[in-house]
Symmetry: C2
Subunit: 215 residues, 2 copies
C-alpha cells in the first residue's frame, strides 16, 4: 500500500539511500526555520547534509517537492489533534476543560511545526492544491469534530438554529492557527503567553456554546 521509497529516476531506495534522503529532509527542515523560505537553496541544503546538489535531485524534483514530503509527515501527526475534540462534553466545567485543552494542544502543535506550517499556509493561500490539501488534512480533523459538537448542541436546543456550525468551527480553528503562528506579535502589545491561553479558551467556549464558561 505505502509503496517503497523511490528515487526520481525510478530506482527503489535501499537502506543507505533512505538515510541520505532523510538527512536531506531533516536539513531542509532546519533551514526552513532559520532562513526565509524564499532563500532556501538546494545547494545549501545539500552542503548542510554533507552531500551534493545532484544527490538532492535524485530524491526530490525540487525544493517544493521535498517540503511537501515534510508537510505530509507532519499532517499524519496532526491527525491526532482530533482527539482534542472528539467525544468531549461542552457542558459545565467539562466544557471549560475541553476548551482549555483544545487551545493548549493546538498551540503546542503549531509551535512545534512552526516553520513548515508557515510554508504550507503560504502555498495554500497562493492556491497550490497540494499544499491546500495538506492544510485541510490537519485543520479538517479539528474543524469537523468541532462542527459536530456544535450540531449536537443545536439538536439539544442549546445553540441558536441560525448558527452555521461549519462556519463557526472553521473560524475558530482559523483563529487558533493564526494566533499560534503570530504568538510573538501578541507579546509586543503586552500580552504574555500565559495570559493568551485562557482568553483564547474563553473565545472558543463562547463560540461553541454561545455562553460564558463555568470554571
Amino acid at each position: 500500500m505505502t509503496g517503497q521509497v523511490r528515487t526520481v529516476d525510478g530506482r527503489v531506495a535501499g537502506r543507505r539511500g533512505q538515510a541520505t534522503r532523510q538527512k536531506l529532509l531533516d536539513c531542509l527542515g532546519e533551514m526552513l526555520s532559520s532562513s526565509p523560505y524564499r532563500d532556501v537553496k538546494v545547494i545549501d541544503v545539500a552542503r548542510k547534509a554533507g552531500t551534493s546538489p545532484a544527490t538532492f535531485y535524485q530524491y526530490f524534483p525540487d525544493v517544493e517537492g521535498a517540503v511537501l514530503e515534510i508537510a505530509e509527515e507532519m499532517a499524519k501527526e496532526g491527525a491526532g489533534l482530533t482527539e482534542l475534540v472528539a467525544g468531549r462534553s461542552w457542558v459545565g466545567k467539562a466544557g471549560w476543560q475541553a476548551a482549555e485543552e483544545l487551545v493548549d494542544g493546538f498551540l503546542d502543535f503549531w509551535r512545534r511545526n512552526d516553520a513548515i506550517l508557515r510554508v504550507v499556509d503560504l502555498g495554500a493561500a497562493e492556491g497550490d492544491k497540494r499544499f491546500y490539501k495538506i492544510r485541510m488534512k490537519i485543520l479538517n480533523a479539528v474543524t469537523n469534530s468541532l462542527t459536530d459538537s456544535v450540531k449536537e448542541l443545536q439538536a439539544k436546543r442549546k445553540v441558536d438554529q441560525d448558527v452555521n456550525p461549519a462556519a463557526v468551527a472553521g473560524s475558530l480553528v482559523a483563529m487558533l492557527a493564526a494566533v499560534a503562528s503570530h504568538q510573538k506579535g501578541f507579546q509586543s502589545w503586552g500580552v504574555k503567553q500565559a495570559e493568551l491561553k485562557p482568553n483564547l479558551a474563553l473565545l472558543v467556549h463562547l463560540g461553541i456554546t454561545g455562553k460564558k464558561p463555568t470554571r
Copy 2:
C-alpha cells in the same frame, strides 16, 4: 518631511523616473497575484514593464524592497480600518451592527489586497521586522480600538474583570485576518460567502461583549 523619491544611487527621480518606478511597482503587484512569491523574478517584472532588469535595480535594492514599498502604500490605506471600530457602541442593536460592519470592512480590505497581504504575512511570520511593522500598522489600528472597547465595557462592569482586553481583541483580529486570507477554504467545506459573514460577526460580538447579540 516626506523627502523626494530617490534612486538607489542617490539621484532624485524626476517625472519620467517616477513613472517608470510606479510602472515597475504595478507590474510587480500583478505578478504577485498571478504567481507564487517564490517564483517572482526581477527579470520578469522588468520585461512586463517593458524595461530592463538594470532599471529595476536603480529604484529598488531587490524584490523584497519593492514589495515593502507596495505594502507601505497599502498600510496607509489600511489605517482607515480604524473607523470601523472607533467610537462605536457595543450595546443592543448598535452592537450587532458594529460587529457586522467590522467584519464586512475587514473582509473587503483583505480581498482587495489579497496577494500583497499574503507576502507581508509570511515575512512577518518569518521574523522580518520590516514586514512585521507593516502588519502591525494595519492590525494595530483595529486591535487597539477593539481593546479600548473591551476596556470600556469592563469599566461599566459589563464584561468580566479577568478578561484580558488586548488578548481578546488581538485574537479576534487574527481570526478575521486568517478567515479573510483563506476564504476559498470555507467554500470547500460547504460554507458560502454570505453565510460566513454573520457567523463571524456573531463570534466578534460574543468575544467583545460576552453576550449574544440582539438583532
